[in-house]
């Protein structure tokens, strides 16, 4: 295929050529960045929490009308919950992964250290916590029942020992020898690391905890306050039943409590959906915009090429009369589109990178991977070829006799 006649023909349609190229360039710039945002969102919302979410249920509970000693109430409620049919195990805590609210603190390696070595989420835990959550120990041991003590709401946590996540362990002790070592949760008293778990996400999914999302510390305390979260491990297939029977059992044992109507009893599937609602929403919105944009661009190419074909019927007829085959005409239009497309794609790559750099500074986004740009470029060239195929096919069917007709 000769390129120079195509180029000289395009020179007569400067405006139309420029418009198609520009549209391809803008589409490429927007689609690349959009796909990149979608990919980041999807990566964010599919991060594992480390707990066996399918079998877990959270009940938020607040005791009312009883002041002072909540310890016996807590013990009684846990005993009630563990006897509900379908419940394997249960424990009480201040917070759970994905819940969005909790307690964070800095950890040091020296007493009264200036500036923390690592940030961490603090989870109140007992000997039932690891089996309930389905979190695996990779080193050391679990808490024993006799090691769990009561902690009133306002006091400082000074745990004698802690269980931490592997991510946190390697931040504190990069040589992998955290087990048995000390860490300062309280500024003055060291806590011994007695266990390391594979993974346990912090409660927050937003930017706040982005730098320490896998750093968690379990402390051997019962939080003695009027509000608590019960976490229940439920037998497979029993989730629906337990969601009905567990609150009933709690009310039957003691009526003076509040379990909020809307989010008081929530399986972890729902907690996860709520935690990542805006990420998922953003990904869907972006995907819709992407698809519509590609459709509009393809439609624009079809429209403008159809017009060109209509305009050039006579020339096509002449070429056919002079011996050009249908294939020649078809490949003429395909090549023409490819040339315009390549021009647009080159401009689009520059635009895509420019747009990304601007968004990096303006919205603290990450840098665009070049693979997205290349994949987007190939996709747009293919889209252009696909869009031009129908009008080009129509052009190839122009009979040679057109040459003899006047317009």
């Amino acid at each position: 295929m000769q390129i120079s006649p195509i180029l000289s023909a395009l020179r007569h349609h400067k405006a139309g050529t420029a418009l198609i190229a520009m549209q391809i360039a803008l589409t490429l710039a927007i689609v690349c960045n959009t796909l990149f945002i979608i990919q980041q969102r999807v990566a964010h919302l599919s991060r594992p929490s480390g707990i066996d979410e399918a079998h877990l249920l959270r009940i938020q509970n607040q005791w009312v009308g009883q002041h002072g000693d909540y310890a016996p109430l807590l013990a009684a409620d846990l005993a009630t919950l563990r006897h509900v049919p379908g419940v394997v195990d249960a424990y009480a805590t201040n917070s759970v992964p994905l819940s969005g609210g909790g307690w964070s603190t800095g950890l040091g390696l020296k007493p009264s250290q200036n500036g923390p070595t690592a940030m961490t989420a603090i989870y109140f835990a007992d000997d039932h916590t690891l089996p309930t959550l389905g979190v695996k120990l990779v080193a050391g041991r679990n808490f024993r029942a006799d090691e769990i003590s009561d902690m009133p709401a306002l006091s400082k946590p000074t745990p004698p020992f802690v269980i931490i996540t592997r991510a946190l362990a390697s931040k504190l002790y990069p040589h992998g020898d955290a087990l048995g070592k000390s860490v300062y949760v309280a500024p003055d008293k060291p806590s011994t690391i007695i266990g390391v778990v594979r993974r346990l996400q912090a409660p927050w999914t937003g930017n706040f905890a982005a730098s320490f999302s896998d750093n968690s510390t379990l402390v051997p305390f019962r939080l003695i306050t009027n509000g608590t979260n019960f976490v229940l491990r439920v037998r497979t297939g029993q989730m629906g039943n337990v969601m009905r029977t567990a609150p009933k059992a709690l009310y039957a044992a003691n009526r003076m409590r509040v379990i909020p109507d809307d989010d008081g009893v929530m399986p972890f599937s729902a907690i996860r959906a709520k935690a990542y609602a805006s990420d998922r929403g953003m990904a869907i919105l972006m995907a819709v915009i992407c698809v519509m944009l590609l459709a509009i661009t393809a439609a624009g190419i079809v429209g403008l090429t159809s017009f060109w074909v209509g305009q050039r019927r006579k020339q096509i007829g002449v070429r056919r009369a002079l011996g050009a085959t249908r294939g020649d005409i078809l490949s003429y239009f395909l090549t023409e589109n490819l040339l315009i497309g390549m021009g647009g794609v080159l401009l689009g790559i520059a635009l895509a990178i420019g747009l990304n750099l601007w968004m990096v500074t303006r919205f603290e986004m990450q840098h665009l991977s070049l693979w997205y740009v290349l994949a987007g470029a190939v996709a747009l060239l293919l889209l252009g070829q696909g869009a031009v195929f129908a009008p080009a096919l129509r052009a190839s069917r122009v009979p040679p006799v057109e040459a003899t007709r006047s317009v």
Binding site: A15, G16, L19, I20, M22, Q23, L26, T27, A29, I30, N33, T34, I37, Q62, V64, G65, H67, G106, S112, Q113, N114, G115, L154, S155, K156, A186, P187, D188, Y251, R255, M256, V258, P260, A277, S278, R280, G281, M282, I284, L285, M286, I289, M292, L293, I296, T297, A299, G300, V302, G303, L304, S306, F307, W308, G310, Q311, M359, F363, M365, V407
Partner: protein, 438 residues
């Protein structure tokens, strides 16, 4: 003449239904995408209290400094008890309030009914007039109730409906956590969004508060904040409630009403002097570091508008631009195809200006059609926002006359702008050349 151009335009658009439909669809989708995201953007970035946002100020005092490895130069975004009480006592603003979120249990008078959880604020009497809270019955409690630590309460209309069937309940009592409170007033629907007066808790978009009680009473009862609490020092919250009140933990939201520029300046110098006093007294080991932001500056500083909304607005605008480029191309194709017709009209005496008017009229018709389609799609899009964004935000995005007008305007203006170049090309057609080639 204009009516005639419209007629001509209509006939021409009918001649190529496919091309016309393509243009209308492109504009409709482009406009709908940008308008839908604009509706969300408008909902989350609007001024929640337009007539007072320039008068309400949020003082911040740095009570943390660079101690304990803290590196930020910004003061904490809430206040500790010591500073909040000192500012309240000084009473330097026209009106001032300090509040924190509470979530007590409400124990029904009917002993067979279940207790319920209610959310609201412990605050001062000025809260209601500062933030223009409307009342259905009664009103704010008198300032003397703040001084006397009175057990008085303001409830919202929805809670009043649930507890008293919507009747005037002023003077009756409710029981919170075992204590009786006398109802001073029932607020009408009030839930400004973003919730500027408490963005630190709940990100600025939350359900309306149900109860308000005097701050001094809540402190007497040692009520804990239902919102965020941050401590910087190693002491944390301390071991008792008294320790907690003495600690550097921040959990209180302070607001001052400063109606004039002079009042703002004098309040700023008061804050500066206060922080300097604290430094001299040895409580702060750093130079005074204060901020005084009004409502919109505060919302901006707290980044209340979710970044994803901004990004999607931007991408939708890009989408509109692509649709416009597309429309330019299609209009160009459409108009240039009619070069012979233009040539004849020019030869018969039409001026360039008249050709220009004719084709712009035709383009405007495409714009109107695109706008109508865009309106329909925007309505669908706003409905769809509920599936995509958090319900607290989606609830705020709605189609109103302003949005309808803007959608049509954007569609028509955008199409006419897109038509400028193709129309210019059409008006440059040389009549002699067109007539000769035929």
């Amino acid at each position: 003449m204009f009516a005639y151009y419209l007629q001509l335009g209509l006939r021409s658009l009918r001649r190529n239904p496919a091309l016309t439909a393509l243009m209308v669809i492109a504009i409709g989708f482009g406009v709908a995408a940008s308008m839908t995201t604009y509706a969300v953007f408008r909902a989350v970035s609007g001024d929640p209290i337009p007539d007072k946002s320039a008068q309400l100020f949020k003082p911040q005092i740095d009570n943390w400094g660079h101690q304990h490895g803290r590196t930020s130069d910004e003061p904490p975004n809430a206040m500790d008890y010591t500073d909040a009480m000192a500012l309240m006592r000084a009473h330097k603003a026209e009106k001032q309030t300090v509040s924190f979120p509470i979530g007590p249990s409400l124990i029904p008078a009917d002993s067979s009914a279940m207790p319920i959880n209610v959310v609201g604020f412990a605050t001062y009497a000025d809260f209601f007039s500062m933030f223009e809270v409307p009342f259905k019955y009664g009103g704010a409690w008198p300032a003397s109730d703040d001084a006397q630590h009175a057990s008085t309460v303001v409830i919202n209309a929805k809670l009043n409906q649930r507890l008293f069937g919507g009747s005037n309940s002023v003077g009756k009592s409710i029981n919170l956590e075992g204590h009786d409170y006398r109802i001073a007033g029932v607020t009408d629907n009030w839930n400004p969004q973003p919730r500027f007066y408490d963005v630190v808790n709940g990100g600025g978009f939350s359900t309306p508060p149900q109860i308000y009680i005097p701050f001094s009473r809540a402190i007497d009862l040692q009520m804990q904040t239902f919102g965020n609490n941050s401590c910087n020092g190693p002491g944390g919250r301390g071991d008792s409630f008294a320790d907690y009140l003495r600690s550097d933990c921040v959990w209180l939201s302070y607001w001052a009403q400063l109606p004039t520029a002079a009042a703002v300046a004098s309040y700023r110098s008061y804050l500066q002097a206060y922080a300097a006093d604290q430094q001299r007294a040895g409580r702060f080991h750093w130079a005074p570091n204060i901020r005084l932001r009004n409502v919109m500056q505060w919302l901006d500083y707290q980044k209340v508008v979710p970044p994803e909304t901004q990004v999607s607005l931007l991408l939708s605008l890009g989408f509109l631009v692509v649709c416009l480029v597309n429309t330019i191309g299609l209009l160009l194709a459409k108009f240039m195809r009619r070069a012979p017709e233009i040539g004849i009209r020019r030869a018969l005496g039409a001026s360039r200006r008249e050709i220009y008017a004719q084709f712009l009229a035709e383009a405007a018709m495409v714009g109107v059609a695109g706008g109508l389609l865009g309106l329909l799609l925007t309505a669908l899009g706003v409905l769809g926002v509920g599936l995509v964004f958090e319900s607290q935000i989606a609830r705020l995005a709605r189609v109103d006359p302003a949005l309808i007008g803007l959608t049509l305007l954007v569609a028509i203006v955008a199409t006419v702008i897109a038509a400028l170049y193709p129309t210019w090309r059409a008006s440059r057609v040389q009549p002699a050349w067109q007539l000769k080639s035929n």
